[in-house]
């Protein structure tokens, strides 16, 4: 039989949607002519083994197929440790999996280490609003499970030199049975970069005084192709949607530049942005906690300073 090969496009560490578009067309073509559709993923490695499970029910995260299939894979391979990202799906299937496997799970770890003599995973996470760091272990149960917020650790930089074994996991129908059905999916419009992936974030807080004063933040962020962030208080006041919220009850971010404008620096907020490469704090109160966590601090009215900055950058563009 002849083969149709789709070469997967990678964007960063993800398989780009264009790949699935090509697969759609490939399937269509294979009706006219019996073609075996293959997809090639050129993967830079980092794993000693790649376990592949394929089923149509995995197209988007669905609780029962994911947890049951993962539980079955875990039973077969008996790992000591399971790590998954603390995304909306990871934070849902990992608890489900822990429940089925009767083992411990630690959410949102910011540090991971191994206790050499016991093999216990030392899982460190912020607790009580980020005021303390708790280290947690799962001494008598295996596997040990942890979720980690995206942008917490640095990505694998160089290709890891090892042969990767490819294992096909056979997904049996009982694993994917569910009555839950996805009816529609509305993707976020292009161009709206999520705050987690932003390189530059300009975040506003209550120090802006009123919602109209968000304007310079939006203007600046547009000029530099940045993303608008927010403290919990202005999200609660509905100045901006929850998707912009930075902090423990919002997103953890790791941008190159983080500008905190009129944000006092509650511990919950700090916990969400402290790993930014460069932090600028603008606040009227010289004693605001945010200055303890910033690389440069400007004492003054955030609205005035942002307007000045925008004006100054505009003249730069015109030049």
């Amino acid at each position: 039989m002849s083969d149709l090969l789709v070469i997967a496009e990678r964007r960063g560490n993800e398989i780009h949607s264009s790949t699935f578009e090509l697969l759609g067309k490939a399937r269509e073509l294979s009706i006219k002519r019996p073609l075996t559709v293959s997809v090639v993923v050129l993967f830079s490695g980092g794993a000693d083994r790649i376990i592949l499970a394929v089923d149509r029910s995995f197209s988007r995260f669905n609780f029962e197929p994911y947890t049951k299939t993962l539980a079955s894979i875990v039973r077969e391979f008996a790992p000591e440790i399971i790590l998954a990202p603390a995304t909306t799906s990871g934070r849902t299937y990992m608890p489900g999996l822990a429940a089925l496997l009767k083992t411990g799970l630690t959410a949102d770890c910011t540090g991971l280490d191994i206790e050499e003599e016991t093999g216990n995973l030392l899982q460190t996470r912020p607790a009580i609003g980020g005021n303390i760091m708790a280290t947690i272990k799962t001494p008598n149960h295996r596997p040990q499970m942890a979720t980690v917020r995206p942008k917490t650790f640095s990505a694998l930089k160089e290709a890891y030199e090892s042969k990767s074994e490819l294992v096909n996991f056979e997904v049996t129908p009982d694993l994917t049975q569910t009555e839950a059905k996805l009816i529609e999916f509305h993707p976020i419009g292009a161009g709206q970069k999520g705050v987690q992936d932003a390189e530059v974030i300009i975040a506003g807080g209550m120090g802006l005084r009123k919602v109209e004063n968000m304007e310079p933040i939006f203007r600046l962020s547009k000029m530099i192709n940045g993303t608008v962030g927010a403290s919990r208080k202005i999200v609660d006041s509905k100045w901006i949607g929850h998707e912009a919220q930075v902090g423990l009850s919002g997103h953890t971010v790791k941008p190159k530049i983080y500008i905190a404008a009129g944000i006092s620096g509650a511990v919950q907020h700090i916990a969400g942005m402290q790993t930014a490469e460069f932090i600028v704090a603008i606040n009227r109160d010289r004693n605001a906690a945010i200055f303890n966590f910033a690389d440069i601090g400007l004492v003054g009215d955030a609205v005035e300073i942002l307007n000045e900055l925008a004006k100054s950058l505009e003249s730069e563009v015109k030049r």
């Binding site: 608890p95 489900g96 959410a107 607790a127």
Partner: protein
């Protein structure tokens, strides 16, 4: 329809103070309230109740002192409030907590719909909802921002995820955990408060749940907290104020200039 709402009582966060020497929370004298995010789950249940012949049960696990927080749910309009309380439950992590909640749901059910908040404001794990659902073997939807439809055939919900919005139809029973976008919780009414004062919160221990001692409390908890530390976060800040503000603005400008759209051409 029988609806169950999972509630947690949490310290009133506005009152939380830290011991400056140990960095731990001072719990003495701090009041407890229903986890604010769970109020959205309760509100969801109460709005369903208003549409027909439905009953709302709330259940929480905690020390006897948690009774006041659970009672508040009656003041808001819940029909029945249950507190799972037993010395043997003490020290439970999310697994052991979910085990007790799931067993309660089995024994007193079947419930058609189980609702939970996104996470608790103290532990912030968000694990108990999905763990309970998995133990009961029912579908789970998390991060639900809207309930679109509910009838005997199932529940239609919207969930907000990183790359967009999904609309799902789940069969009943299912467990749904909601975000704060789903509704604005009501305040207890005066009448409700009166009612709550006289209402009894049922206390249920392990004599009723009959869970194996290895599955409850600290003994049934796979995880252990082994160390508490204070986060180290500080940076060395360069301050600009008064007449040097201009220099500060220039410094930011220098950092942002490479990102200006025009410079990418």
């Amino acid at each position: 329809m029988k609806i169950l709402v999972l509630l947690k009582q949490v310290p009133d966060t506005d009152e939380v103070k830290l011991n400056p020497e140990t960095g731990t929370m001072i719990r003495e004298g701090v009041g407890t309230v229903i986890n604010p995010l769970d109020l959205h789950a309760l509100e969801t249940a109460l709005r369903i109740k208003e549409t027909g012949d439905h009953s709302v049960t709330v259940v929480s696990m905690g020390p006897p002192a948690a009774e006041e927080a659970v009672r508040e749910a009656i003041a808001m309009g819940a029909d029945r409030a249950v507190l799972l309380t037993d010395r043997k439950f003490a020290g439970a992590d999310t697994w052991a907590t979910s085990m007790a909640l799931a067993r309660f749901a089995e024994k007193e059910g079947p419930f058609d719909l189980i609702l939970a908040g996104e996470k608790a404001t103290d532990g912030e794990t968000g694990q108990v909802g999905p763990e309970t659902g998995a133990m009961l073997g029912i579908p789970v939807a998390t991060y639900v921002s809207r309930i679109a439809e509910l009838d005997e055939s199932g529940i239609t919900i919207e969930r907000e995820v990183e790359d967009g919005k999904e609309i799902w139809k789940l069969p009943l029973p299912s467990l749904v955990s909601v975000t704060k976008d789903v509704n604005e919780p009501r305040l207890p009414t005066l009448n409700g408060k009166k009612l709550a004062r006289n209402a009894s919160v049922e206390r249920i221990g392990n004599d009723f749940l009959e869970l194996d001692p290895s599955e409850i409390g600290l003994k049934g908890s796979p995880t252990r907290v082994v160390r508490i530390g204070t986060p180290k976060l500080s940076r060395k800040v360069e301050m600009y104020e008064g007449s040097s503000i201009r220099d500060g603005i220039d410094e930011i400008k220098k950092r942002l200039a490479p990102y200006l759209e025009v410079n990418h051409e």
